[in-house]
């Protein structure tokens, strides 16, 4: 399933502009992450895509279907698995009832409901809890049920709003393993939002960075990192004269006997190495690395 978002704008009340002239395209089978600080417009964008909110301006099409039209989008909604940010379950009902009712509301037959509920509960490691009321489950288990329900539809498009918030690292890894397994098998498109940037770096094909309702960036995580990332050089040189000379030419900070040159320009790198050789420096440590998506994100947002 592909998504085309065309210049959507949404304002709450008189002055809160949640989303402004936002456009992007998501190809079928792609995994796209929406990132941005709180209030950036991620949830509003997701709700507009799902047809839950009407934009003031602009349109959203999923597989060519206009999502702002309730009747037109009714059928396509049953092909989209959605899990909002906060756990939304009927707490008095059992795990199985929660999933079955959701499938029934999406028009699935009794036999299909049974089969898919069983399959998804097994995939998510929830089968043993199927007859338990949701109110008796721990927060982590309830979140797994919340996500399992979205996947039970066998969706062609999965939309998850901060799916792993509140999960411990092991559960988060298990969640991504299960989700990736599902996507590999089904070829589904995935649109999700998250604040866990290392998770995004690992699992997103593309990142859309939002701030104050506007799109700041739209590129694969690797591309964003390399665009903003500069190598960091860490040198341990026993000769103080050499250190002074390097500092005066390339800047950097002298910390614990080491010279750390942050934000080295790629073009300067051969010059640094040439200088080291010219000065006859005895280099005990030469370490270099690039920035993570998180560091880039913090830099861009600041």
């Amino acid at each position: 399933m592909h998504i085309r978002v065309i210049s959507i704008t949404k304002t709450y009340g008189a002055s809160v502009r949640a989303v402004e002239s936002l456009s992007f395209f998501i190809n079928s089978g792609e995994s796209v992450a929406l990132i941005g600080p709180n209030g950036a417009g991620k949830t509003t964008t997701i709700h507009i895509i799902l047809g839950l909110l009407k934009p003031d301006e602009g349109e959203v099409y999923i597989d060519g279907v206009n999502m702002t039209d309730e009747k037109e989008s009714s059928e396509i909604r049953s092909r989209i698995g959605f899990a909002p940010q906060n756990i939304a379950l009927d707490f008095f009902l059992t795990v199985e009832d929660n999933i079955e009712l959701y499938l029934k509301l999406n028009g699935l037959s009794r036999a299909k409901r049974r089969e898919r509920t069983k399959r998804i509960l097994e995939l998510m490691g929830l089968y043993e809890y199927r007859n338990r009321r949701v109110e008796t489950l721990s927060g982590g288990l309830a979140r797994r049920v919340h996500i399992a329900r979205a996947l039970a539809l066998d969706p062609e498009l999965i939309i998850l709003d901060e799916p792993t918030v509140g999960l411990d690292p092991v559960s988060r890894r298990l969640f991504w393993e299960a989700l990736k397994g599902y996507i590999k098998e089904s070829g589904a498109t995935l649109l999700w939002s998250s604040h866990y940037l290392e998770e995004i770096e690992r699992n997103a094909d593309r990142v859309i960075l939002l701030n104050r309702g506007r799109k700041l960036m739209d590129a694969p995580p690797g591309e964003i990192v390399s665009k903003f990332s500069r190598p960091v050089l860490e040198l341990e040189i026993p000769n103080e004269e050499v250190l002074k000379s390097l500092t005066s030419r390339f800047g950097g900070n002298y910390v614990n006997g080491r010279l750390i040159i942050d934000d080295v320009d790629w073009d300067d790198l051969p010059k640094v190495i040439a200088s080291l050789s010219k000065l006859g420096a005895e280099v005990r440590l030469l370490r270099w690395g690039s920035k993570s998506l998180e560091e880039v994100y913090l830099e861009v947002m600041s």
Binding site: L53, K54, S78, F82, P84, N86, A88, F92, N106
Partner: protein
Amino acid sequence: MSIVITLIEREFKIMFRSKLLMLLMIAQPVILIFLFVLSMGNVVGEITYRGITVSYVEFMVPSVVILTLIFVTMMVSQSVFNEKFSNMLIILLSTRMTARDYIVSKLITNTFISLTQAMLMLTSYLLIIGRTNIISIVYALPPIIIASLTLSGIYLSLLGYLKTISAFSSAVNILTLIMIYSAPLFYPLEAMPFPLNFASNVNPLTYIVESTRISYLLKSFDVSIWVSSIICIIFILLSIHTMKNMLKEV
């Protein structure tokens, strides 16, 4: 239609799983009618209503039923806010369910729950107190259904219009109080003082109470049942309209 049925099934599943809620639902009308007859039974004697003389308790039975309907429909309507805050409304709206399906299911569920309570109350009045008869209950059934739908329509319209729980609670408390005291719930219309008698003309509850009382006491239907039917349709349409607008902005 199958989606509306699924939504109703969901509401009842949730209700039946909560033992406390079930107990409250069954016990409340029985206790209410029992206490009412026990406390008021001998306080006021007989009164004349539309040419017939009836005991005050008999006169008040339809009123107690309507009061129960008011509180049940108010409470059940308010549950929409719970669904909104728990995000379940978003989940439901992300399925094939339309806003209309949701509103219709709420109207039907509200009506069914309040009707069940009303029937429980009348049945316990018949079985425990033994003062009424089956025919009166059967006659009272159509206006009680209309009353349940109208009250659900009124509260859901308000809910759709006011959008926040605090605004809804405040408005409902004031409005319900005015509606109760400007309707012939506790005394006949003729005995109502000014300006309440004037307000009673535009009060939907007046027609609801009158149609229920006439059918229950006189075992007949008069023009008030048609007026309350029209009011009922107006409020159902209004509730669909205002709730649809509210559901667009979840």
